[in-house]
Each structure stands twice: as C-alpha cells, then as structure tokens.
Subunit: 154 residues, 2 copies
DNA sequence: GTTTGTCTTCGAGCGCGCTCAAAGATCTAC
DNA sequence: GTAGATCTTTGAGCGCGCTCGAAGACAAAC
C-alpha cells in the first residue's frame, strides 16, 4: 500500500464511518404522548444532565418549570421536550447565547417562525461544517495510525 | 484522474467551504520538503491561530521554538508541522491535556510509539462518536426545518 | 419523632483555553 | 535618524458553561 492508497483509505474511513445515524432521535421529535411529571433528579437523568445544570438552564431563562406546593420543581412534558432539544443542541456545539436567542423567539410566538427558521438553517450549516472538519481530522488520524512505525514526528 | 484523486477531490469540495483547515493539511503530513523560516506572525497565519496562542502553546510545553540572535522566535519546518498537527487536533476537540501527554510521548522517543498509537486510536473513537453525535443533531435539525410551520414548540 | 436524603435559593468558584496589557527591545521604511 | 510596527516576557484577566457550597425546608423510612 503506497502513500496515496493509504491516504485514500484514511479518507474513505473518515467519510464512511462504520455504523450510521440512528433513527431513534428522530422518533423522539415526533413522540408526543404523556402528561407525566418528573422531579429534577429524574428529569436530569432523562436528558443526561445534572440537576445543577437544569437549575442553571432555568436561571438563565432557557426553560420555565412549574413548582408543586412545596416549591419543588415539577417537570412536565413540554419542559422535558424543551430540555431534550436544548441538550441536543448544546451537545452539538450550539452556544448558550444562540439557544437563548432561539428560545426568546419561541416564547414570542408564531410571528417569529421565519426568524427561527433562519437560526436553524444557520445551525445546519454550522453542523455540516463541523462534521466536515471532524471527518478531516479523522482522516488525518486514520492516516497517522496507518503509517505509524514509519515516522516519529508528531 | 484516478479513483484516489477523485476521492480526494470530492472530499476537498465537500469540506472546503467554511474556510480553515483543508485537505491541503493532509498533504502536509506527507510533504517533508523545506527548511524555510517563519516569524511568529507568518506562522500564526499559516496554522490559523494568533501569535498569542502560539506563544501560549510554547509556554505550556507543546512546542519548542528556536530564537534568532535578537531573541525572536524562528519557526522551522518541524515546529510548523507540529503546530499544524496541534491545531488540527484542537479543532477536532482534543483537549490540551491530551496533547501534552502525546507530545511528551513524542519527545521521549520511539520507545513510546505504542502508547502514542493507543492515544491515536482513542482519539479516533472519540472523533467517530462526535461525528455520529453531530449527524444526529443534523438529522434533528433537518427534521425541524422540514416540519416548520407545523409545530410551534421549541 | 428522628434520621437521612433530596429539594430549595443564592452567590461564589472553577477549569479550560485563550487573550490581553505593560514595558521594553528590535526591525522596517522613509 | 526617527517613526511605527512587531517582537520579547510576565502576569493578570476573561468568557463560557457549568459546578459547588451553605443554609435551610421538605420528604420517606424506621
């Protein structure tokens, strides 16, 4: 295998990762069943964050959470759905400032739908660019792995 | 143009738009020509960082840079190659602590090659996981975009 | 009723990765 | 020779996104 072939192989591996995107998450977007209630610990576990983080998100206005008579947070389905959205967007690198902007638009009603769409389109571009970047880094890494033993330099 | 070249070409086209690291950089991994000299501003421009950042990387031991008689940094080819590697790994989300670990191994010579390989393999897994995450977020975003006008919630 | 745990609010602290400011030496152009 | 940009070092500061601690109310188990 010469250098070009190795390079091509690395690129191939980077662009065609084993195991594709799961459809699971898409189903989450559609599912719309319950009117369950969750305490903060359960909610946190469900969205993969800490209770601290959930309180933080509420503090900075990303989500509003009703209380029970004792003053404890009670997460309902809309709150959970929003949190799932928020954490996914965070995981994908959207800064909190953008999320606040988006949430503000949501809270201002349907009239802001075009603006929200713009934000989403922008985010889509960002995601695509990020994926491309990562695939490049992956290609470089695959290449380095494939050729190790040859060169010593980093 | 053979298959490999076409693949590289396709990747270049798919990856280049947002500016930043390009397929170019992969060639840097193979290329090994020059003994050019660069001042810090040029070096910074070349790797897509600020002079501040380059000095910072030197301070924390990620790279060693010779000086000219006046005490100014003179970046040589090995230094640049290492910086390109470092910035690519940073861009792909590798924490500086990992990079220091890796660089320490490199500086300790060939005996650490297996350890370095381990780090690279681990990073490859991280990259794959990240890409999968982003593709998921992208799918979710595409879905939201496609269905906008329907639902109002977040 | 008492322990033990989880909840509340509020403010402060932290780790990361830069980023900048200050004070001074040096290079570049005119 | 002089102005202005760029270089040096050192130490401090900053923005982000949490993360924690303290002090106290409430809940669940015995």
């Amino acid at each position: 295998m010469n250098a070009n072939e190795q390079l091509a192989q690395a690129l191939r591996l980077a662009v065609d990762p084993p195991g594709g995107v799961s459809v699971h998450a898409l189903r989450d977007l559609v599912a719309d069943d319950d009117s369950r209630q969750w305490d903060i610990a359960t909610a946190a576990r469900h969205v993969g964050a800490s209770p601290h983080t959930l309180r933080y998100y509420e503090r900075i206005g990303l989500v509003t959470v009703p209380r029970n008579p004792a003053g404890h947070r009670v997460y309902d389905t809309p709150a959970i759905r929003r949190l799932v959205f928020l954490t996914r967007m965070r995981t994908s690198g959207m800064p909190i400032s953008d999320l606040r902007q988006y949430i503000d638009l949501v809270d201002r009603g349907d009239v802001t739908i075009p603006d929200r769409l713009d934000l989403l389109l922008e985010h889509r571009d960002t995601l695509r660019a990020q994926i491309a970047q990562l695939q490049l880094a992956l290609a470089a890494t695959e290449y380095k792995i494939a050729t190790y033993g040859g060169a010593t330099q980093p």
